[in-house]
């Protein structure tokens, strides 16, 4: 039975809801009794199990069981399990799902060597995984059976006996075949199995032999290596890719010394693959090199891996090699020459773009020398199908580099910035092509949103470099062009806003910010003109993005006087306020957040002479937001309001400070009747901040450096705090939330109440309470229930006049309730997911039986 957190949660549940049941990880008696029936059902081919997820859960349970109990004992104590395997093997026509289940179940048991022997003696393993088993049956055509087989073998290979079994029964060859299975799931699982087999068989092989040809590798591993070698030598692109994928996983998950031996054996063949024209498995090779480069085994600068990586950077297609280049640049341990080459690879397309828009000799380019033949890059850039994707990839990779804390090579950031600006100019037809390639690029890029987005991302990222004024000017120009253009798509506009924000914040924080002050101020003026227009856009996405941008801008720059001046000389604040009434709820929410930030500034501005009605305006904004909280039909604006109020309370907004208690009281009252759980959670956060502030103000906060108060002072402060909490009806709100049907709300309320209890109900108060005769026993359970019910009902909207009487709280009574209610127990039960009873294995077994019994009936119902 699911615990119910409906709005009528019985109060007695608070007192009795301490039932706790851990998920069982052992086979208990009830399960042992149910298991034979379940096995009988599964072994009966006439009984179809409708829901496969039962089988998955069943397997999960056995996996957990075998981790904690002896598998052999489990089989011996529950012979029905072995019988099940035998029965299914004997079935003429088992269902594919049952057979797959049996394969996986057997694999789980056979993972234990003793259990393996047990099953081997009964010839069950050879019947399931050998050539005579499902392999030769018609059901092998089913991907689920092949997948079950692979997973079973994977589970089983945890000991040497299993490895020998694999080699002797020919299963290893089956796995090789399954690498190319038409089902991607099976192929991937087979590949992972081979990785597991190789690493497991070689895990004891830790020393580097003198002569790799004479090394005494296990037969299984030998077989695998030969298979990989043959695949790499084959002409089949798919076989080559499978082997490269396998090697990638091996080098990725295993960093033992034998991997170096393996590489020495295969490197020649892999370099040969790189030199082929054209390279077929470029992406797989990149994956392999990246996987190896991250392994400490190959980190030595003299390692032959780096020669291969250099070769790959030279030979692979620029569209493929970018990932390798950026991966190499992120490595700590990598020869500097390789890093420089990797950077050149990434810069080459940017260099081509820059040159395509510059007159000869006007700009020398981004690179001193080209690593690759620039003709290849130029060909890719002049083709419509490859130009945008190459540029997007390159820009994304270069952007990744900007966020590296320590870039190991010098990045020519000014030419890079120029090239990014040039790309953005090309994209809106502002760049003047200087060559034939430039003409082609221009035609391809104009209106290309993908490239615009990527270029704007990196433009923003480049803001953290110090740039000369002339380049800042060109950045501002291109940003304004995008922000102004009516053809800028909403997503590109959002990116433009993000890049603009980054540049403005960076410039305001830069030591040389005064040098750019005039430039920035003019840009801001132009920006606010654009922003005004965007705030009036007919498209809600645009209005929303503009408001989000404004919020962040104010948040980051509100301390700057020049920013405030420009902002308040524009129409932006007024338009933002108008948008509080926007028909689109997302926009209203964003307008609320923006006004929340702006109101800090309007307050500052209103202090100055010459700004009229600032105070009046400010009041009206608070009132407007409260009205939205109480009346807006959509959740987003109400959530935004509560979030603004939390910020205001935290940051000490002047209007809140005027009468904090009244403010909190009115907000909690509005939130209490809200049906949206996120608004309630916001209200609880507000309550938490408020209570912490009150306790802190009175020196009761748990601060390790605070002076220790005398018990008398502490007691006075406690009672003051309690008085305030009672005045704002904090406990009514918290207990109301505790009864909320949404678990996160109840959990949060419980957390806050526990914290308050810890502060307010210390030993002394407890003593005082007891001495005053306010114990639970004295008042009895009936009284407690009555009190909570009264609070709970008073938390709901009451007719005017009744609220005060019903809601009046006696501070001592509050203390008593806090002490009486087992908040900790309630906290535990709330922390459990609502389906914890459903998750028990007993329930699972019962469900399997029940479903099988009702299957026919359900089917009839369907018709």
């Amino acid at each position: 039975m699911l615990p119910c957190y409906g709005d009528a949660l019985p109060l007695s549940l608070f007192l009795t809801f301490f039932y706790q049941k851990k998920t069982r990880c052992i086979m208990d008696r009830e399960c042992s009794q149910l298991l034979p029936s379940v096995c009988a059902v599964l072994a009966d081919s006439r009984q179809l199990v409708a829901d496969d997820t039962f089988l998955e859960k069943f397997l999960d349970w056995f996996k957990t069981l075998t981790e904690t109990e002896s598998s052999l004992l489990l089989l011996q104590e529950n012979p029905c399990l072995t019988e099940l395997i035998t029965c299914v093997l004997k079935l003429k026509d088992p269902s594919s799902s049952t057979l797959s289940f049996i394969l996986r179940l057997t694999g789980i048991f056979a993972a234990s060597e003793s259990c393996f022997q047990y099953l081997q003696q009964r010839e069950l393993l050879i019947s399931l995984f050998g050539e005579v088993g499902p392999l030769s049956s018609a059901l092998w055509e089913e991907a689920s059976v092949r997948s079950g087989w692979v997973q079973g073998v994977h589970s089983m290979v945890q000991h040497q006996s299993a490895l020998h079994f694999l080699c002797s029964c020919g299963a290893i060859d089956v796995i090789f075949t399954l690498q190319g299975d038409p089902s991607l799931f099976v192929a991937s699982a087979a590949n992972q199995l081979l990785v597991h087999v190789l690493t497991f068989s070689l895990q004891s092989f830790q020393t580097k032999p003198e002569n790799i040809k004479d090394c005494d590798w296990p037969i299984c591993a030998q077989k695998l290596i030969v298979h990989i070698e043959e695949s790499l030598k084959s002409n089949s692109a798919s076989r080559i890719k499978q082997s490269l994928k396998l090697l990638t996983s091996v080098f990725g998950c295993c960093h033992d010394l034998w991997t170096e031996v393996l590489w020495s054996r295969l490197s020649e063949r892999i370099v040969y693959l790189l030199e082929e024209e054209p390279v077929h498995a470029g992406h797989s090779l990149v994956d392999l090199f990246l996987s190896m480069a991250r392994s400490p085994v190959f980190s030595c600068p003299e390692c032959s891996l780096w020669t291969s990586v250099t070769c790959a950077l030279e030979h692979l297609n620029p569209a493929q090699v970018g990932r390798l280049a950026v991966g190499v640049l992120k490595l700590q341990e990598c020869p500097q020459a390789v890093k420089i080459q990797a950077l050149s690879v990434l810069l080459q397309p940017m260099d081509c773009v820059l040159k395509a828009a510059s007159q000869p000799l006007e700009y020398p380019g981004l690179l001193n020398r080209s690593v690759n033949d620039s003709a290849t890059v130029e060909t890719l850039l002049s083709c419509r199908s490859s130009c945008a994707s190459l540029l997007c990839q390159t820009l994304t990779h270069l952007e990744e580099l900007q966020y590296l804390t320590c870039l190991p090579v010098d990045l020519p950031h000014i030419p890079l910035l120029q090239s990014v600006v040039t790309i953005l100019q090309f994209c809106i037809g502002l760049a003047t092509p200087a060559s034939c390639l430039g003409n082609k690029i221009s035609r391809i890029l104009i209106g290309c949103f993908r490239v615009q987005r990527s270029a704007l991302d990196i433009l923003g990222a480049l803001s953290h470099w110090e740039s000369p004024s002339v380049f800042i000017g060109s950045v501002f120009d291109i940003l304004l062009a995008y922000l102004k253009s009516p053809d800028t798509s909403p997503t590109v506009l959002k990116k433009s806003f993000q890049a603009t924000l980054k540049w403005l914040v960076s410039l305001s924080e830069a030591p040389s910010s005064k040098d750019h002050w005039q430039q920035t101020e003019q840009f801001l003026r132009d920006l606010f003109l654009v922003l005004q227009k965007r705030l009036c856009s007919p498209y809600w996405e645009v209005r929303d993005s503009a408001l989000e941008f404004l919020t962040l801008l104010v948040k980051h720059l509100r301390e700057k006087e020049w920013f405030r001046q420009v902002l308040f000389s524009s129409e932006v604040p007024k338009l933002t306020e108008d948008l509080l009434e926007d028909p689109e709820s997302y926009v209203r929410a964003s307008a609320v957040t923006a006004m929340g930030q702006l109101s800090f500034l309007t307050h500052l501005i209103s202090k100055k002479p010459g700004v009229e009605n600032g105070n009046v305006k400010e009041k009206s904004i608070v009132a407007q937001l409260k009205e939205i909280l109480s009346t807006d039909s959509e959740g987003f604006p109400r959530r935004a309001v509560i979030s603004v109020f939390i910020d205001w309370l935290r940051e000490g907004h002047p209007d809140v400070l005027k009468d904090t208690e009244q403010f909190v009281s009115s907000v909690l009252q509005a939130v209490n009747s809200d049906l949206d759980w996120e608004v309630k959670a916001g209200g609880l956060e507000l309550a938490e901040v408020f209570s912490a502030q009150i306790l802190g103000r009175l020196g009761l906060a748990a601060c390790p450096y605070a002076a220790v108060l005398s018990s008398a002072t502490r007691s006075t402060h406690l009672s003051e705090s309690l008085q305030i909490f009672c005045q704002v009806k904090l406990f009514e709100f918290l207990f109301g939330a505790l009864c909320d049907c949404d678990r996160p709300v109840a959990q949060k309320a419980c957390d806050i109440l526990i914290a308050l209890k810890a502060e307010l109900c210390d030993e002394s108060s407890l003593k005082e309470g007891t001495s005053a005769g306010l114990s639970t026993e004295a008042r009895g359970i009936a009284w407690l229930e009555e009190t909570l019910r009264r609070w709970s009902s008073c938390a709901k909207p009451c007719p005017r006049g009744d609220a005060d009487e019903a809601g009046s709280q006696d501070p001592n009574g509050v203390l008593l309730v806090l002490r009486t209610v087992d908040l900790e127990g309630l906290h535990r039960s709330l922390n459990r997911s609502s389906d914890h009873i459903e998750k028990s294995p007993q329930s699972l077994l019962q469900d399997i039986l029940a479903t099988v019994g009702t299957l026919e009936e359900n089917e009839a119902d369907c018709y």
Binding site: P433, S442, P486, D487, K533, C536, P538, V542, E571, D578
Partner: protein
């Protein structure tokens, strides 16, 4: 003749015609030549460094010198904007042909002409300037007057009787209707998606097809969607009427329009939208219908002022069959296809024939006014420019792309009101043209020269030109172009009785031939094969008939021969028939068979055979029959 548009940019050289006396305009100083000569100061006025003609505005007519327009048989009209010069053609050139256009084109074209005539006639101007047109004088004037072309041909606006007379010469057509022109070609209008009733035309004979694509749009606006499929397989596609502002995307411009409108009104300003009374205004009103509530503009009045405002709004609702699919569906609900009906019902949109009368009573500010003319030289817009121009709270938003907004504003300078340029031109842009051409694949494209090179102001924008293979043939003003196809075939009808008499002979599998002897009868470019007249009866009397009465002389029919003569077999045949000394010589064109004994030559070539013998008719006939054995007769 394909279209007859009127170049109204000439009016930009004239001073605006104010509805009420404008002290500012009347006080403008006369223009004085550099040498101080003042003889033009009555005709030309100076305003903020620009010189304007102080006279009734005049229009630049279509080219009339190149060909005699009285010889034009047919004028095909693409859309209502492309017929504004019609009265000048039909009433002044001796034109006696027929004009073809769709019904909405004619009705809305009439509204545009009516509005134009009304705008000009209701403000009569006593002065008519002509001195400045003198070529010698024009040379001395500042630009742009100095550079104006063919000013001597500029004409005043036509009158309503002329409009009515011109429109009476129009024959209405429907989309996909096939119209025979003198039997020579068939013309068909197709929906072009640009405006109500706008058309592209197919001009085709049995074997040639020419498409005329002018003013088309692939965007989903109010008119019926463009019919592209019917343009396929054209020998020549004449392409014109592309967007005038290829860099301005209409969607983005509509967004700009709405944003600027809202910003102005929120700040307490008025918005003036100079526009035509039909076309984009329907789409703008539809956008505003959706936008005004969300922008909090529900209480702002929208005024549409035009002598034809009422007719335009009502006409738009009744041309259901010419509308896009969505709007057509609405009609069956039944609902008015355009939402401006609801705007009118709810009093959010009010329309007036002019600023006089009811409008002056209802006028409230801030407001949005849609009115003409987009050139800002005549119409009610002149009044609003004078009224609102002084305040920076107000905004004029240009949406029509036909006029340079800077030139339009020149006589109003200095101007405090904000000016926003949001040209909304839904016609094809170059990307759409490129897709269209790939889709319909004409053999040749013919277009104005301007479309084959980037715009002069943006020479690096090679994407703003037509890019097709083979390259488009371009033409410029007054250039005579030979279209790249020749008429090689004509379709000829065979009368049934003649067809009955034919006996086809299969010469190859699937190919049969028959000889036809008939009389070719050609009338109205239709060709018919009729049975030949029966052999003439012997004359009843010896009296000689007049030649014209004679039936065509009918000679006895000889069979036609075909095939080739295999020389070896021919020689063997000759030998069988007793010719023993046969020699064959190869020549450049065939063979010569020499019968030495008979002193006879048989010259066999691809298309002729000659038997040269010495007056021996029997021998010749014998040899002829031997030759004929190897040939097929039919």
């Amino acid at each position: 003749m394909l279209d007859c548009g009127l170049d109204m940019t000439s009016t930009l050289n004239f001073l605006p015609l104010p509805l009420v006396q404008s002290p500012r305009l009347s006080k403008l100083p006369g223009w004085v030549l550099k040498d101080g000569n003042t003889f033009l100061d009555k005709e030309l006025k100076e305003c903020s460094g620009h010189v304007f003609v102080d006279s009734v505005p005049e229009f630049c007519l279509p080219e009339t010198e190149l060909l005699d327009l009285s010889t034009v048989d047919v004028i095909l009209i693409s859309n209502y904007h492309c017929m504004m010069a019609l009265p000048y053609i039909t009433e002044y050139t001796g034109f006696t042909g027929t004009v073809y256009a769709t019904e909405p084109t004619v009705q809305i074209g009439r509204l545009l002409m009516e509005e134009l005539v009304n705008f000009i006639e209701r403000v009569p101007k006593a002065q008519s300037a002509s001195l400045w047109k003198n070529k010698e004088v024009q040379r001395l004037l500042p630009a742009p007057l100095k550079d104006a072309v063919e000013v001597s041909t500029w004409r005043r606006c036509y009158t309503m009787p002329e409009v009515n007379s011109a429109l009476s010469k129009i024959q209405l057509v429907g989309y996909s209707q096939k119209i025979e022109l003198f039997g020579a070609v068939q013309v068909t209008p197709l929906s072009s998606g640009y405006a109500l009733g706008s058309s592209n035309w197919i001009i085709q004979s049995h074997y040639e097809k020419v498409s005329y694509v002018s003013g088309s749009s692939l965007l989903t606006t109010h008119p019926q969607a463009m019919d592209q499929a019917s343009l396929k397989n054209s020998d020549v596609l004449i392409l014109t009427g592309l967007t005038q502002i290829p860099t301005a995307n209409p969607d983005g411009m509509v967004g700009e329009f709405c944003s600027n409108l809202a910003m102005t009104v929120r700040n307490g300003g008025n918005v003036l939208v100079p526009c035509y009374p039909s076309g984009v205004i329907y789409d703008l009103l539809e956008c505003l219908y959706q936008y005004i509530d969300s922008a909090g503009l529900s209480n702002v009045p929208f005024y549409f002022i035009s002598p034809v405002a009422n007719s335009s709004l009502e006409f738009s609702q009744i041309f259901a069959e010419w509308l896009c699919h969505n709007k057509q569906t609405k009609v069956y609900l039944p609902e008015p296809p355009f939402p401006h009906a609801e705007l009118i019902q709810t009093n959010k949109l009010k329309h007036y024939p002019s600023i006089h009368g009811d409008f002056s009573n209802d006028f409230k500010q801030p407001c949005v006014v849609f009115t003409g003319h987009p050139s800002l030289r005549f119409g009610d817009v002149v009044h609003f420019m004078e009224l609102w121009g002084k305040s920076s709270l107000n905004t004029v938003i240009f949406t029509e792309p036909d006029f340079s907004y800077l030139e339009a504003l020149a006589p109003y300078q200095p101007l405090a009101m904000k000016c926003v340029y949001c040209p909304i031109d839904t016609r094809l842009n170059f990307i759409q043209v490129s897709k269209l051409l790939k889709e319909v694949q004409p053999l040749h494209v013919v277009c104005p020269e301007q479309y084959t090179q980037p715009p002069p102001t943006q020479s690096h924008r090679t994407d703003l030109m037509i890019d097709c293979q083979p390259p488009a043939m371009s033409y410029r003003r007054a250039e005579v172009l030979t279209l790249p196809f020749k008429r090689r075939y004509e379709k000829i009808e065979i009368m049934p009785e003649l067809a009955d008499s034919l006996v086809p002979l299969e010469i190859k599998p699937g190919i049969s031939l028959a000889t036809v002897s008939a009389v070719l009868h050609t009338k109205d470019n239709k060709h018919v094969l009729q049975p030949p007249p029966k052999p003439a009866q012997p004359p009843a009397s010896k009296k000689r008939k007049r030649v014209s009465d004679d039936a065509p002389e009918c000679k006895p029919l000889k069979p036609l021969l075909s095939g080739s003569i295999p020389m070896d077999q021919f020689v063997q045949t000759l030998e069988k028939h007793g010719f023993s000394d046969v020699k064959v010589e190869d020549t450049a064109k065939g063979h010569i068979v020499l019968l030495q004994e008979a002193e006879t030559l048989i010259q066999i070539e691809e298309d002729s055979t000659h038997i040269i013998c010495d007056n021996d008719e029997t021998l010749r006939v014998k040899l002829r029959d031997l030759v004929l054995k190897f040939l097929q007769k039919f």
